[in-house]
Symmetry: C2
Subunit: 217 residues, 2 copies
Amino acid sequence: MARNKHPEETINLILDVAFCRFMEKGYEHTSIQDIINNLGGLSKGAIYHHFKSKEDILVAVTDRMTKESNRLLADIRDRTDLNGIEKLKAIFKVSLNRPVQEKLFTVAPNMHNNPKLLFSLLKDTVEEVAPKYILPILKEGISDGSIKTDYPEELAELIILVANVWTNPMIFNSTVEESYRRFIVFGQMLKGLGVDIIDKEMTERVRRLSSIYQKNK
Amino acid sequence: MARNKHPEETINLILDVAFCRFMEKGYEHTSIQDIINNLGGLSKGAIYHHFKSKEDILVAVTDRMTKESNRLLADIRDRTDLNGIEKLKAIFKVSLNRPVQEKLFTVAPNMHNNPKLLFSLLKDTVEEVAPKYILPILKEGISDGSIKTDYPEELAELIILVANVWTNPMIFNSTVEESYRRFIVFGQMLKGLGVDIIDKEMTERVRRLSSIYQKNK
DNA sequence: ATATACATACCAGCATGCGGTATTAAAAAA
DNA sequence: TTTTTTAATACCGCATGCTGGTATGTATAT
């Protein structure tokens, strides 16, 4: 294949293919050759020109995954028309409704094959999402009186970790009803911590999302 | 090396070495050869005689890790001198005080290198510990009136997952004070869910445990 | 005698390294 | 402006060493 005038296209192609392979077969069971075979003519040299290792590809893939999701969170965080607790509620509402979520479910990744990718996302949740997006919102909520806690840092971690991990059917497989009940208990947990934001519309949305996921499994 | 009259010793030796290597270098970065080199003369044939694959070794290692901990839980679950909520409290008290916990901290395993091992433990927590040990206790608590919830299955998962994962410094690195605050927020969460079992003695124990871990890191 | 507990030799597949080539953009020369 | 030079980039594909795993051999315990 001839040299590409726009190498970013090549990089994106590699990431696209790698993402799909990782999701379908898992990171560990995807070989570089496997990626190459789905690259449409590109070779091993191309990959190692743009990425320094297989792991480097994984990092790039996960970065791309979290980046757009985090942009969404940043938008809500920086709004001025909502108070703290309203922003928190908005985050969950938007997260549940973004199309990417359905798209991801359609690819139906089985995180059981992907401990490495899973852990990257876990790490991102605690080390990036919690302090950069949830914590500022909680602090704002404390200021404006809509949220009460003595430990905003820890509360931010707990909330987003439980939401992103435990209620995630890609990680902990569950039936539609189990997902639904998990989300309800999650809501009770939040309420018990003084953050009452989960409403019927959201729990129903979880039911729908979960059934979409089940169908594509 | 000649044939061993007690093959279980060989098995245990392999598991001991593998455990250490996995903890130090991570499962993925530990090669079979690496294990062999620390086996004192044993060869590849020995390993593949007792274990069918590298992954099989990992499973055996994690099984050995969880087995004794689960026995502890079973003992409490089957006691007749405590009601539901007292058993739950006993579980956390005992878990925090067992010597194995300190021993494990002394090896100071870094779960960041071990997504696969971590995920095994995660899976065990949700699929074994929650339904087999925590759930029966919750149900007993519902019967005797000491615990109230409409979703005992999910509550069991949530409680033990947050306890085992989020408050675990081996997984989510944290300072002594952060560990302490996490555990307090965990206690608040439980209280909010109608399970008030975390007392001062336990939070102080967390502080001590965490400082032991920090020292050995 | 035979099943068990290992040892040894070997294999296919893997990630990665690397010498080489084609293409492009930029600078220099015309 | 056009042409030539230069150097950096994009890519190729085989070589290499290591990996998990297997096949087969051998000695020992029962």
